[in-house]
Structures are given as C-alpha cells and as structure tokens.
C-alpha cells in the first residue's frame, strides 16, 4: 500500500513517514500542498495523510483538487491531520472529501489504526485480518499465517502480500506493484519487483510445492483465490 504524507512541519511529516514505513507501507513525503498535488497527480496513492493548514495550498484545497485528477481511476483515501478541533473545522474537512479526521497531537498507534481502517475499506474487509484462501494477514500485528503456520516476511514482502490480498484473483502488473508497493525512491528499471515477488512466492509455497501466487505471462501476477 502506498501512502503520501503531507505536512509543512518537516519533523512531523518525517516521523509519520518513518512510523508508517516501519509498518510496512511504501511512503512518500511532501512538505507542502503544491508538491503533494504534483506527486498525487502522477502516482496513484492508496492513502494520503494530509495536514490541513499549510502556507501554500491548504489541505481542503488539496483534497478538492485531488478529485479532479484524471490520471487515477479513483481518488486516494484522505486522512486529514489538523491542530484545529472545532466542529466547523471537522465538518469542512469531511465536506472537502477527507475520509477521516485526526486531531494533533495524536498517538501514533491511533494514526496507524485509522490508516489500516481506511485501507481496509478498499479491501472490502471489516476486521484487522485479511484472509484469502488459507493465507491470513493480521494488518495490525503484521503477522502472516499460511494454513495456520506463521510465515516470516520482511516489511516489503508484507506490503506486497497486503496489496495482493486486496485484489484476490485479479491480475496485477509489475507497474501497478511498483506504484503501490514501492515508494518514489525505487528504481523502475531494476528487477526489484520480480525478485521480491519471487521470494514472497517461495516463502508462501506449501510443502507440497503449491504456490498461491501465479505468474500470468506477459501481464503480471495473480493471487489465487482459494
């Protein structure tokens, strides 16, 4: 899952980005509204953590302009961060298209929980655990089980699996994976996607040699539904 963190308070944006990266998300950072819009114009983010008050373009406007982006199929989820807590501010934020609202200062675990909850809505799941076939992914504790046995994964592999699990049975291209699982620092010309998918598939392969991820030649990969 790819997240953009936008805040003009550099120390805050960096901290949130670091925390989310530790949680297995691919995270980009913007220190202003204008820059955030430029990034979101090109990259189909799954979620934007957006500060409300910024000197150049404020969060409400960013939110509104995100809806007009023709380059992405659906606008990203928006979690609005703000130091303003009056009812009017909340209403204005939600009206502008924010999906959720978090008042500063916040506990990081709460931000994580809200991020998870917003991303879950995409996956069509209600609990913290995603389940496809015999694979269970606990998005809160970051634990993966295959047929009841725990599988050790790196955060990158976790993020990759999480993305696959939100689109079970759908063919996912390398470019899409690069967009949603890797951040802006990834080099699109390396074979990092292929390699990571390879290791993930190996780790998930059962003893009888059955792998839940199959390669669709010429198009990408698919997580088998059952």
């Amino acid at each position: 899952m790819r997240v953009l963190v936008v805040d003009d308070e550099i120390d805050l944006a960096d901290a949130v980005a670091r925390g989310l990266r530790n949680g297995g998300y691919a995270v980009d950072v913007s220190y202003g509204g204008e820059d955030a819009l430029e990034k979101a114009w090109i990259v189909p983010y799954d979620l934007i953590v957006l500060d409300l008050t910024m000197p150049d373009v404020d969060g409400l406007e960013v939110c509104a302009r995100l809806r007009e982006n023709p380059n992405v199929e659906e606008p990203p989820r928006v979690l609005m961060l703000t130091a303003r807590d009056s009812l009017d501010d909340r209403v204005a934020g939600l009206d502008a298209g924010a999906d959720d609202y978090l008042v500063k200062p916040f506990a990081f675990v709460e931000l994580e929980a809200r991020v998870r909850s917003l991303l879950r809505r995409d996956a069509g799941s209600t609990g913290a655990t995603l389940t496809v076939g015999d694979i269970d992914l606990d998005t809160s504790r970051l634990v993966v089980k295959r047929a009841g046995a725990t599988v050790e994964l790196t955060t990158k592999e976790l993020n990759l699996l999480r993305y696959f699990m939100t689109k079970p049975g759908v063919v996912v291209s390398q470019e899409e994976l690069l967009d949603h699982v890797w951040d802006e620092n990834a080099d699109p010309f390396t074979n990092t996607v292929r390699v990571t998918v390879g290791t993930l598939r190996r780790k998930l392969t059962s003893e009888d040699g059955h792998s839940p991820i199959e390669t669709v030649i010429g198009s990408g990969y698919r997580l088998i539904e059952s």
Binding site: E9, A15, R18, N22, A83, K104, P105, F108
Partner: protein, 397 residues
C-alpha cells in the same frame, strides 16, 4: 424589583394625597371662614301701620322677630360638617384609587427595566449575543438600554478576540506537541532503532520543546501587555532607542552586519520606556535575521511635527506586497519551516504593533521585494520642556 415599584406607588399616592388634602383643606377653611364673616342675621320688626284719627300714619310694633343667627349658625355648621365628611370620603377614595393607579403606572414605567434585568440575567459569559433592543420613545430608559447594548457589543468583540487568540495559541502549541509525540511514539515502537536514530529523535524533541518555550514566553509577554496598563512616564525615546541599538551591535557584528544609529536628542514622549525598547528590539531582531553579511541596518529616531518616529531599516530580501498586512497578524510566519528552525513564535511584530498602539501611535511597513524593509513606529511627542503632561493611554484598542 418589587420594592422600587412599591416605593414609587407610595410616593405617587402620598404626593397626590397631600396635594388633594391641601386643596380640600383650603376649600374647607375658606368656606368656613366666609360663612362666619358674613352673618346674614337681621332683626325683623313686625308691626302694623295704621292711620290715626289725625291722619297720621302710625307704626305700632306688634312683635319683634328673633334674630336668625342661631339658626343660621346651625345650618352653616351642618353644611361644613357635610363638606368635611364628603371631603374625607373623597380623599380616602382618591388615596385608594391613586394607590391602584400608581401601582400600574409604576409597573408600566419600570417595564423596560424589567426587560433589561431579564436580558442581563440570561447573558452568560460565553454567549454575549443577546441584546435588549428596547423599543419605544427616546427617553432615559431607552438610553440606558442602548448604552447596555453598546457595552455588550464591546464585550462581545473583546471576548471574541480573546477566544480567537486562545484558539490560535492552542493551535500553535499543538504542532510542536504533535511533533514530539509522533517522534517519540515512532522511536519507542521501533525495536530496531539504534543510538543514531534515538539521538535524532531526542534532537527533534528538544527543538520542539525549545519552540514551545519561546512560544509560551511570547504568549505571556503578549498577554501581559494586553491586560496591564503600560507605565505613563516621560520617556526620552532617543536614549531608549540608542540603548537597544547598542545591544544589537555585537550580535550584528558577529554576523557581519553593521548597525548604524542616527538618533536625535530630546525626543520626549509619554509612555513606557522598557516597552518601547522591546518594540525596537523586536524590529531589530527581525532585521538582523534577514540581513546578510556586509549589509547595514539603519536605526533612526527623530521628530516630525507632533510625532516621534522610530525607524529600523534593513537591506534584506524585503517583504512581498501581499504579505505586508499579514506580517502584523498573530502567528504569521513567512517561511514556516525556516522560522521553525529559529524557534520563532510569530508574535514579535504583533507585540510591536500592540506597543505602538498603546502609545497612541502606529507602526507601518515600507518594503519592496528585494529592496529591504523599513518599519516605522510613530508615537505622539510632548514638548521637551513639558515632559510631565499626563496622558491617558487607550489600551482598549
């Protein structure tokens, strides 16, 4: 409320009763005197006129009728008694009626006061939106109600500005708090964080704490200025400005910036010397922050007619036209990320303006982008030989 109505009623009745008693008493007295003054009593002699044998007419008194005075007196007395009885009855009735009428009239007169009281009672400190808006003739009570409404308007404005200030201040305090909390949370949750990571977190938290400290300090200064009246002593502005400028020479020199001071003597104003000094210091600190090595900061003070001006001119980057009004607003900072590094609170120029206005003066900015900036404070002067004229500072503004 009841007592003033009762008092008005009693007063009204008593006065009316007194007047009526006097009138009735006067009538009674006058009448009784006039009745006694004119005794109608006459003696009637009853007789017989007859012609005697000699042809003379002869009056033979046959009877002397008694005087009527006793009878008359009795009748007069009865009339007076009757009058007295009627008068007393009328007075008594008048008294009762006047009490009733007085009660209603007083109630009617006092009704606007009732309304004022009720509105005043309903007003909570948090909601000053209620107004009396008394209708009716333009009289004293209407005047009172309008004055009350005006006072509420002013209070409302003051409360609103206070509320906004608290809102803004809490907003400003939340940002560094959020930074601290997020950084600490993330560092604590990360069991792979090494010493470098933790050190970096500590530095960020330290920086935020510093920023909060600065902010709280400036908030307190601001709040004190807002609530306490400034001193109203004769101040030699020239001396004050020169003193502050001298303090800045060393830090400026360390930055390669020259502070040049052109200050007239005998610039007397009534006000608060330390506060004026602080205003100049804030301006100088701003100027120094935007100045690069090799440039000059000019500090000037002089007299223009009835005004004393204090100028701080820098050769820094200047301020864009669209920001020129905003810079005096609370918590406005040009470049937020840069100002955060410097732990600025965004209250410096607000304090300058507050101090200038407290002295009955103004502060204006004259700047063009890339051509430096000049801040000019103007306050009223007093003549050098009369530095003791008292001046009331209007801190309401």
């Amino acid at each position: 409320m009841g007592s003033i109505r009762v008092r008005l009623t009693v007063l009204y009745s008593t006065v009316l009763f007194g007047l009526a008693s006097a009138v009735v008493g006067g009538i009674y007295l006058g009448l009784s005197r006039s009745l006694e003054d004119q005794p109608v009593t006459q003696t009637w002699t009853l007789g017989q006129l007859s012609r005697t044998a000699t042809g003379q007419i002869q009056f033979t008194r046959t009877e002397m009728l008694a005087t009527l005075s006793d009878f008359e007196l009795a009748v007069n007395q009865r009339a007076l008694d009757q009058l007295e009885r009627y008068s007393l009855f009328a007075l008594l009735t008048l008294f009762v009626v006047s009490l009733i009428v007085g009660w209603f009239v007083a109630g009617r007169v006092l009704r606007p006061i009732d309304r004022i009281t009720n509105v005043a009672r309903e007003i909570q400190a948090t909601d000053l939106s209620r107004r009396i808006r008394l209708q009716g003739p333009d009289d004293e009570l209407r005047d009172l109600a309008d004055t009350f409404d005006d006072m509420l308007d002013r209070l409302d404005v003051a409360f609103e500005s206070q509320r906004r200030f608290i809102h803004e201040a809490s907003h400003e305090l939340r940002n560094p708090l959020a930074i601290m909390r997020a950084n600490l949370d993330v560092a604590l949750a990360d069991d792979q964080a090494d010493v470098t990571d933790l050190r970096e977190t500590a530095e960020i938290v330290n920086r935020s704490a510093l920023r909060m400290t600065r902010l709280v300090d400036d908030l307190l200064t601001w709040a004190r200025q807002e609530n306490l009246s400034l001193r109203t002593d004769p101040v030699n502005v020239g001396v004050a400005v020169r003193g502050v400028a001298r303090e800045f020479e060393t830090p400026a020199a360390a930055q390669g910036v020259t502070v040049r001071c052109g200050v007239e003597n005998d610039l007397w104003a009534i006000g608060d010397g330390p506060a004026l000094g602080r205003a100049v210091a804030n301006l100088l600190a701003n100027a120094l922050r935007v100045s690069i090595a090799g440039t000059v900061i000019h500090v000037r003070a002089g007299r223009q007619g009835n005004l004393i001006f204090i100028e701080v001119e820098d050769q820094g980057p200047g301020i864009a036209l669209e920001h020129q009004e905003k810079i005096f607003q609370r918590f406005w900072r040009g470049n937020k990320s840069q100002s955060r590094e410097e732990s600025r609170s965004g209250l410096g120029l607000t304090i300058v303006r507050q101090i200038a206005e407290a002295h009955g003066g103004t502060v204006v900015l004259d700047s063009k982008l890339n051509h430096g900036a000049t801040f000019r404070i103007r306050i009223p002067a007093v003549a050098a030989d009369a530095p003791t004229v008292p001046l009331v500072l209007d801190l309401e503004k």
